[in-house]
């Protein structure tokens, strides 16, 4: 397919600029010529060309609305359309972030209540809505760790992160100047308590734990883990990417977590927009509230206002207040599903994952055979050994069957990993169709491995040369 630049034709235009209704002035008289540019090198196309270009592109893309999208750790649930409608209300979209407080009482109320709802769901004292994405929430959380120990006058230089963790966890730790130390998992998929005890010292700020972890398993020793970390003065961080398994069922705050980030674009049903915008609110227990980013919303009677007056704050991590429009969608979601709905969401997400796990267990190796939470992790090791079919091959073959592949090669501790997260919005029919397809592919792997290795055959492009892309990077088009 042609690039928009290759469709450009000098003289065409898809827009018109209003006539100038104020006295004309020469730009050169306002701004020195040396500060001005001569030309703007952008494509020139008619509106119809623009629309067809992007419609063609959209048809080369796959979203949850098109089909099943069991991308593990990403919680690709169906996003109800009413969210898009409410988030498009001009009462939300047309607000300037510096509009007077009198103009934005509804927005402030929404954010204030959102903090309360998330605090209740997670068992935390308060939330900041400022982080723009999950990893941004992590960074904010680890900054709070740092500030907390600075305030206490303790020098802690290390942070513990399990070997199964999301890659963003060690990166977040490193960006706050902590030395990242890896904690091993045991053979049952839980954190190795002995190893944790050994590592958790007075030099250690704490542990970043994902619970349920990235194997889709609940960390059964959470009580002991929290005790080990807290007894040595550390803090316990919860990567809440997998909160969809717990809503209304159990609360991280009750389990001893001091800090948690959520992903509104996963758990709370805001769509992910091809990679963003997300929203990564961060919740803390009472002893960490003073460190939250500024500004924070305060309520005085019925009136909401911003307040900057928090001397122990880590500061600001983003301009303005966070990805407000994403919050509107998540708020809509919480209001429409209510407390029973959130609980049923978690229960059915877990039911769906266990259903897939049971149905596929005879066909793929299940490294940790126990009740899973919202996702299950298989290994394609057997197929790889027997017929040279790898996780990436199976992923590509699924595409030919109209299904978005699961997350593959993650978590890193499972060889040839395939991480399947169905979410609660998928029907039994969809799950059965997926399982049937996976079983067919398992059969193909034995009998026609070449067919799988040639996949996908139905897409506009076949397998792409990623090595070439990295070796000779072409990230900007030149005529």
């Amino acid at each position: 397919m042609k690039l928009i630049f290759e469709k450009s034709c000098p003289g065409r235009s898809a827009s018109g600029i209003p006539a100038c209704d104020v006295p004309d002035c020469k730009v050169e008289e306002v701004i020195d010529q040396k500060l001005l540019r001569e030309n703007v090198d952008l494509p020139e196309v008619a509106e119809v060309d623009l629309v067809r270009h992007y419609m063609q592109l959209s048809r080369r893309n796959f979203g949850v609305d098109i089909g099943f999208y069991p991308l593990g750790s990403c919680t690709m649930k169906y996003s109800p359309k009413v969210h898009e409608e409410t988030a498009s209300l001009s009462g939300f979209t047309a607000l300037h972030p510096y509009a007077p407080a009198d103009f934005v009482q509804g927005a402030l109320k929404l954010m204030y209540e959102m903090r309360q709802y998330l605090s209740e769901i997670c068992g935390m004292a308060d939330f900041t809505l400022q982080p723009a994405a999950g990893a941004h929430g992590e960074l904010t959380g680890i900054m709070i760790f740092k500030k907390y120990f600075e305030k206490k006058g303790e020098k802690r230089t290390k942070i513990l992160i399990p070997d199964a963790a999301h890659g963003t966890n060690p990166a977040s730790g490193a960006l706050c100047g902590f030395q990242v130390v890896e904690v091993l998992s045991n053979t049952e998929g839980d954190i190795d308590i002995g190893h944790l005890k050994e590592l958790m010292s007075e030099e250690t700020a704490g542990l970043m734990l994902t619970n349920p972890n990235t194997l889709g398993l609940f960390e059964r020793d959470i009580e002991e883990i929290a005790a080990i970390v807290h007894d040595r003065g550390g803090l316990l961080y919860c990567d809440g990417a997998n909160m969809n398994a717990l809503m209304g069922v159990a609360r991280p705050g009750d389990m001893g977590f001091d800090v948690i980030h959520l992903n509104l674009h996963k758990t709370f049903s805001a769509p992910h927009g091809c990679g963003g915008p997300g929203s990564g609110p961060l919740g803390v227990k009472a002893h960490l509230v003073d460190f939250l980013p500024i500004p924070r919303i305060v309520k005085d009677g019925d009136r909401y206002e911003w307040s900057q007056d928090y001397p122990d704050t880590i500061g600001r991590i983003k301009s303005f207040y966070g990805n407000f429009n994403v919050m509107v969608k998540a708020y809509t979601y919480i209001r429409s599903v209510g407390p029973e709905g959130l609980k049923r969401t978690a229960e059915m997400a877990v039911l769906n994952a266990n259903y897939i796990k049971e149905r596929l267990k005879p066909y793929f190796r299940l490294p940790y055979d126990r009740a899973c939470m919202h996702e299950c992790v298989f290994s394609v090791e057997r197929q790889a050994k027997e017929s040279g079919v790898h996780a990436s091959d199976i992923a590509k073959r699924l595409i030919d069957y109209g299904i978005h592949p699961p997350t593959i090669y993650f978590p890193l501790i499972v060889p040839e990993a395939m991480m399947i997260e169905p979410t609660e919005t998928e029907s039994r029919d969809t799950l059965d169709a997926f399982c049937d397809t996976m079983i067919v592919i398992a059969g193909e792997a034995k009998e026609y491995p070449e067919r799988i290795k040639a996949a996908p055959l139905t897409t506009p492009v076949k397998r792409l040369d990623e090595v070439l892309a990295a070796r000779k990077p072409d990230v900007c088009w030149h005529k």
């Binding site: 827009s15 600029i17 540019r37 796959f62 990166a171 159990a250 990679g275 915008p277 509107v328």
Partner: protein, 442 residues
């Protein structure tokens, strides 16, 4: 209402397959003491209609301004209809990050095109697929410079957006870097002598913004030697993306990185977010810049296609050696920006000129009010700083008429007591400006 499609029969059959007699059995790994044996204390569930009504009600508790004289990092522009139309395609907005390239060619190509347009507008060779916002893009560029050069001092000009400086400080503090602030002069441009004295051989980056927070355009070429002479990197920012349509790109004036807020390209005000951080750099930083990159390659039949490339830079491979932890970005906002830029084409320059004309007219009318005076003689784009006898009263009068007034600069600059920062975009009509003058005078 929940969005679970299961019937009772479905649930029963699935439980049977799993071999459980109750849903609780699924959660046996959670210690009993942590089971929440009550419902969450949240408002009760609602039908779609009720939900919509409640949201509509909350939305209408906000007052939509008749128009907006506020810029200060968020700009009120017309968004062509095609933008909303394109980003509302479910294939785009309901997709995740394009990990599976063969079924993500749409967004990958769109991002490749976006990167190309941003590189052209900024005068750089490389642009990434977006950052969270302008402030975090600036902070990440500073951190990257420090990590790359193994230096610990970051110099920021005081005329940079106050919130951007705060974000830079937070990121710098977390990494153990020192932030030095240097001043501006009577023209509203940076003070070159002050900058010279602050830059030393431990300086990793000098951060500058043009137009700066006072609306004044900086002469970036004039400081290029000061910065590079000490071996530091020059990070040039902007808050108002449409200014790229008329101003000489920082990349042509010696900047190593160009960072800024892309909201003005087709993204609504949205009470501050989501916006998109623009980050562009010289070729030599290609393998270091944070965020995602879409790259062109070929498939096994030799057809052109696109993939996320240079992923080894990314946190999920480099992990603890990462120079950034960004994962999700603002892809849909970048798509909106791309559609906006294609829609604008060459007209982006005309739009930028119209912004200058409107702002000049507003400036002229306001400075004609007795007691009002422009503060900085330096060249401006669509914002300017003006001093008046009672800024608070001015904004109050405008607010009473449903207008968002200017930004009170004394909030962030005590030395600028009495000064307001005003913005005029193409959305302001001539008669609006006349109204503003009579409201203020009234």
């Amino acid at each position: 209402m929940d969005y679970v499609p299961h019937t009772e029969e479905d649930q029963k059959q699935m439980m049977k397959t799993i071999g459980i007699g109750s849903i609780e059995e699924l959660f046996i790994d959670i210690p009993g003491k942590y089971w929440l044996r009550r419902l969450l204390d949240l408002p009760p569930a609602l039908s779609e209609q009720e939900t919509f009504q409640i949201m509509n009600n909350i939305g209408s508790q906000n007052i939509i301004a008749d128009f907006c004289l506020m810029g200060a990092g968020a700009y009120y522009h017309y968004v062509p209809a095609v933008v909303r139309h394109v980003i509302s395609r479910c294939e785009f907005y309901t997709a995740y990050t394009p990990y599976q390239a063969e079924i993500s060619q749409g967004i990958l190509q769109a991002i490749y095109e976006y990167q190309t347009m941003i590189a052209r507008l900024t005068g750089m060779q490389v642009a990434n697929a977006s950052m969270y916002d302008g402030a975090s893009a600036m902070a990440e560029a500073a951190v990257l410079a420090a990590k790359t050069l193994n230096r610990t001092r970051i110099v920021v000009i005081r005329s940079i957006h106050p919130e951007y400086r705060e974000v830079v400080r937070t990121y710098a503090w977390a990494n153990g870097y020192e932030v030095i602030e240097t001043g501006y002069n009577a023209t509203g441009q940076l003070d070159k002598e002050d900058l010279k004295s602050a830059v030393d051989d431990n300086t990793a980056a000098v951060l500058v913004q043009s137009p700066n927070f006072f609306g004044v355009i900086e002469d970036i070429a004039a400081i290029e030697q000061v910065v590079h002479g000490s071996g530091a990197l020059l990070v040039a920012g902007f808050t108002e993306a449409t200014s790229l349509g008329i101003l000489k790109p920082a990349g042509e004036m010696g900047a190593d990185f160009v960072v800024g807020e892309g909201q003005a390209f087709g993204n609504p005000l949205n009470f501050g977010g989501p916006y998109l951080g623009i980050l562009a750099s010289m070729d030599k930083f290609l393998r270091k810049i944070p965020g995602r990159l879409a790259g062109a390659t070929v498939d096994k039949d030799g057809r052109r296609g696109f993939v996320l490339t240079l992923q080894t830079r990314e946190q999920h491979i480099r992990r603890e050696k990462a120079t950034s932890n960004i994962c999700s970005n603002e892809a849909l906002c970048a798509l909106a920006a791309a559609v906006y830029l294609v829609s604008m084409g060459k007209n982006l320059k005309k739009l930028a000129i119209l912004n200058i004309q409107k702002a000049q007219y507003l400036k002229k009318k306001l400075s004609a009010i007795p007691g009002w005076e422009t503060v900085f003689p330096g060249p401006t784009y669509n914002e300017f700083t003006i001093c008046c006898p009672d800024p608070h009263l001015v904004n109050k009068k405008l607010q009473d008429k449903g207008i968002v007034g200017g930004y009170d600069l004394s909030e962030s600059y005590p030395e600028l007591e009495g000064c307001l920062l005003f913005c005029a975009t193409e959305m302001i009509k001539s008669e609006d400006i006349d109204d503003v003058v009579s409201i203020i005078a009234g």
